[in-house]
């Protein structure tokens, strides 16, 4: 793995560690400040575990005023701060810095209000994504964005990354599903954007914060929209004899006016890998597998399924199976959800890429990836959120072989550049973090990046909040950009990854 460039370490801060720890202990309960080596170890990395750094100290505040006081102190003393939610991010957004305080929001773990009349939940940022749904599901409601790590990832982290999920084509990502946030700026100012009503007037500061990867403020409260669960949800499992026919069918489903709740594609390598791993009963002779999920009222779903069947048959599908029960629907998804661990079982290491492409370019992208796979002599398996164009190629390799590692890095970089060339982007949902920083110039020119840096400067003039993330440090397009998992030791191996 390439050497990671990080902001210059401020030696004076390192020298003042004991004084800083002492001062932080005055701003929150003493037990909330961690500074011993063994206490800091769990915070050394997030889910991009290939990079580790020991923070100066970790502080776990318990309320917004404490966050404000801590940031005010760090601002006045020029101490860098890295915010962290549940640490499930895949792009290194919560990677600590040696001369920075890591501020963990783990103690913000309460749901503050459930307001059915206004269809919203007011929650602290440390509550998990799924925790929100669990709190309202007995009344038939749910929170729509469903990143695959939803069991563990926190809603505050979701806001930082603008997390999506398999249902984002129909239901949007985090930014489309939150109504308000409370946030503390680097100088300690507490601010509130939005509330329980739609579209707050003036600059959409909530929209700016969502997806800002912890660079503009520390979110201390989130108001999310909740939706009523659809009456009926059904899925279809469809095999195709070629990538082109399956890709065309997916495109045609969209262009025919159907908006599926979810639509996923897996290539042959992944069909085999996941079927071996999870015994999902996938059609192993198929070159491409399409899972289409539809929701709505009974007759609406039946009508849509008929249309999907017609389109798939027209595109020569080799098999087609409809879910007849909730159990069967979940079994369709079981293999797909096991995609990452299945690849982990096939090779010592895998890299997960996260590019977005226009849906219609899928066949082109997969053929290009196949060619690259042959060129680099490394196997690759592909899964694709066909609904919203988010492509996750998984490159399998052996990290102990330095030459394979180098080739994998090149391969991954070429894939992301291919995504951009096809009209897509370098990250659909995992974020830029430290991982794809240097690839930003594949998409943006100096003016674009400068404008973003100007915004950062206007809200964090001393560049103390999560520095070194998202924006290129080297100002050149380095060959970085993947999730590296060694010996299937994903930091959260049990979490399904899409």
């Amino acid at each position: 793995m390439s050497e990671l460039a990080l902001p210059k370490i401020d030696q004076t801060i390192l020298n003042r560690k004991s004084e800083i720890v002492k001062n932080l202990s005055k701003l929150t309960d003493k037990e909330n400040v961690l500074s011993e080596a063994d206490e800091l170890r769990p915070y050394e990395t997030d889910a991009l575990s290939v990079y580790t750094q020991t923070p100066l100290a970790v502080v776990l505040p318990e309320n917004t005023d404490e966050v404000s006081e801590i940031l005010k102190y760090c601002y006045s003393e020029n101490i860098k701060v890295v915010p962290r939610g549940a640490g499930t991010g895949l792009s290194g957004g919560a990677l600590p810095l040696q001369d920075a305080i890591l501020i963990g929001l783990g103690k913000f773990n309460k749901i503050l209000e459930i307001d059915y009349e206004n269809k919203c939940v007011v929650t602290q940022p440390g509550v998990t994504n799924l925790g929100i749904t669990h709190a309202v599901q007995h009344k038939g409601f749910y929170y729509a964005p469903d990143p695959s790590s939803q069991l563990a990832c926190s809603i505050g982290g979701n806001v930082a990354e603008n997390s999506g999920g398999v249902h984002s084509l129909k239901y949007g990502t985090t930014t489309n599903n939150i109504l308000g946030v409370q946030m503390v700026m680097m100088d300690g100012t507490i601010c509130r954007f939005g509330g329980k009503s739609f579209d707050q007037e003036g600059y959409d500061l909530m929209g700016l914060i969502c997806g800002s990867e912890g660079l503009l403020g520390v979110v201390t409260e989130v108001t999310v929209k909740i939706l009523k669960k659809p009456e009926v949800v059904k899925a279809a499992l469809i095999g195709f004899p070629s990538i082109k026919e399956g890709g065309d069918a997916a495109s045609e489903i969209i262009s025919s006016g159907i908006v599926p709740a979810g639509m996923e594609i897996m290539d042959k390598a992944l069909i085999e890998a996941t079927d071996n791993f999870s015994k999902a009963g996938y059609p192993r002779d198929a070159e491409l597998l399409l899972i289409v999920e539809l929701d709505g009222t009974e007759s609406e779903v039946n009508e849509l399924i008929k249309k999907v069947e017609v389109i798939c048959k027209k595109n020569n599908c080799s098999s087609l199976k409809l879910s007849n029960s909730e159990k069967e629907r979940l079994s369709f998804w079981a293999g797909r959800k096991a995609a990452f661990p299945a690849c982990g079982a096939m090779a010592p290491d895998y890299y997960c890429m996260d590019g977005s492409i226009p849906r219609g370019k899928l066949a082109e992208a997969l053929l290009e990836i196949k060619k690259l796979s042959e060129k680099y002599e490394l196997p690759v398996a592909n899964c694709f959120h066909a609904g919203d164009g988010n492509l996750h190629p998984l490159i399998m390799f052996d990290g102990n072989d330095k030459e394979q590692l180098r080739k994998t890095e090149e391969f991954g970089s070429e894939i992301l550049k291919t995504c951009v060339r096809l009209g897509g982007v370098i990250t659909g949902e995992h974020g830029v973090g430290i991982e794809k920083r240097e690839l930003m110039c594949e998409m943006f020119n100096d003016n674009d990046i400068q404008q973003q840096l100007n915004i950062k400067k206007s809200l964090d003039e001393k560049n103390l909040l999560n520095p070194g993330k998202v924006y290129p440090i080297l100002r050149k397009c380095a060959e970085e950009g993947r999730v590296h998992v060694h010996k299937n030791k994903d930091k959260f191996p049990d979490l399904p990854r899409f």
Partner: protein, 426 residues
């Protein structure tokens, strides 16, 4: 040679001294020059919504109306990329050929401004971020913007976003641009998410009793799995005869008794599922057939157009307020407004359009106070000729104003673009 003529030698200027840059490069050149000269400019499109917001105090006016035309439309990818001042009508027409639409239902402000349709341009919509009746289901304009290009206050061409729905690469500036009233960038290019049109629609009309019952219905409607895509409440307001006449003529439909207070909700989809949803909702709301009437698709479509054209306030000469509050406080607001001000409620109980037939700005001050107490905000969309701006037409608190100033500074350090259009100092 005056500085004006120096710019004018490059870019067309009409007899009213309005600049008409013909492409992005000219917009950039013009703003770069204005930046050098510390000379602010008002930014306009087709002038359909320029009456909204404060009057800008600037020596120049720049019209982006020549930056128009469809760049790339991919129905199968569900996006359309257009030059910023492409008329909404042109976009809707092209989308309609492929049975697609802008799902956020653009409001036609032409009716309140001058009594006739004038939808204006997509840049205008994005700059205001005012969505129509479907908002509570599909999101606002900001939720349908995938990316943009524009020129910041220094003359630099910048872009953000792309054409794909899943994109977390860098700050989401598209959201920031939405509702910024042209104070951050002069837009040159916009990419929008488009969605398939629904096969059909029906609208059910209920004639409810008191406000509690109305809001009980609205709550049940928004809590149902049988999704609705619009719900408005239009009160009787019997004291204002002129309004009653107007209301009755705007909502004159065979199956609607417009002289009563009525609540209307829309169900969209294929014909079978529309019937299924209406039946479900009737049960959930405990309605009998005798309590309701139904507008078929031929009545339903024009009905919602009239709602979104704000036709009951056509040509209004009074102050027209747009107030958004959490729906749980809606019945309280209805009680306050009852027989005092003409109004109707959209977005399933959350959006109030209120006409303040009073010269006294005190009334607006009272309403703004109420909006804040209820956790919402209000904007004076159209001002009467007597309005003296003693009460700000936008709602903002100190902290948000401070942050807005910083954000403005980062895009437009010399306040060249639409200065003061939203807030003083921004």
């Amino acid at each position: 040679m005056s500085t004006k003529i120096k710019i004018n030698s490059q870019i067309f200027q009409d007899s009213n001294k309005v600049y008409y840059p013909k492409d992005e490069a000219e917009v950039s050149d013009l703003i770069r020059e204005l930046y050098k000269q510390d000379s602010p400019t008002e930014i306009i499109g087709n002038n359909s919504k320029s009456f909204i917001g404060n009057k800008t105090q600037s020596a120049n006016t720049t019209s982006l109306s020549k930056i128009s035309g469809i760049i790339d439309y991919r129905p199968e990818e569900l996006y359309i990329k257009v030059k910023a001042c492409t008329p909404i009508n042109e976009i809707e027409e092209v989308l309609s050929e492929n049975n697609q639409e802008l799902a956020f239902e653009p409001i036609d402000f032409g009716y309140i401004k001058e009594g006739k349709s004038n939808k204006g341009t997509i840049a205008g919509y994005l700059s205001c971020n005012y969505a129509g009746s479907r908002r509570f289901k599909v999101g606002s304009v900001r939720d349908h913007v995938l990316g943009f290009k524009g020129v910041n206050g220094k003359g630099d061409i910048i872009k953000s976003g792309g054409t794909v729905v899943k994109n977390v690469t860098g700050y989401d500036l598209s959201k920031l641009i939405a509702g910024s009233f042209g104070t951050l960038v002069a837009l040159t290019e916009i990419t929008l998410k488009v969605l398939p049109k629904k096969d059909s629609s029906k609208t059910v009309i209920i004639y409810p009793g008191d406000f509690e019952q109305i809001y009980d219905f609205l709550n049940k409607l928004s809590s149902s799995s049988s999704e609705i895509s619009g719900a408005v409440f239009v009160p009787e307001q019997s004291k204002d005869k002129d309004f009653v006449i107007k209301k009755n003529s705007v909502f004159k439909f065979n199956d609607l008794k417009s002289n009563f207070s009525f609540l209307a909700f829309r169900v969209e989809g294929d014909k079978i599922s529309i019937e299924e949803k209406i039946n479900n909702l009737k049960k959930e709301l405990e309605l009998n057939n005798s309590d309701i009437s139904t507008l078929d698709v031929y009545q339903s479509e024009p009905f919602w157009k009239k709602v979104n054209n704000l036709e009951v306030f056509e040509n209004t000469e009074h102050n027209l307020i747009r107030m958004v509050i959490p729906p749980a406080n809606g019945s309280k607001l209805c009680k306050y407004l009852e027989n005092n001000h003409n109004y109707f409620v959209d977005w399933c109980g959350s959006l109030f359009w209120i006409e303040i037939n009073s010269k006294k700005e005190e009334k607006i001050k009272d309403l703004k106070k109420m909006a804040k107490e209820f956790g919402g905000y209000l904007t004076v969309i159209k001002t009467s000729s007597e309005y003296d701006y003693g009460e700000a037409i936008f709602t903002v608190d100190k902290v948000r104003l401070m942050i807005s100033e910083k954000v403005k500074q980062s895009f437009d350090p010399k306040r060249i673009l639409n200065p003061g259009k939203m807030y003083r100092g921004v």
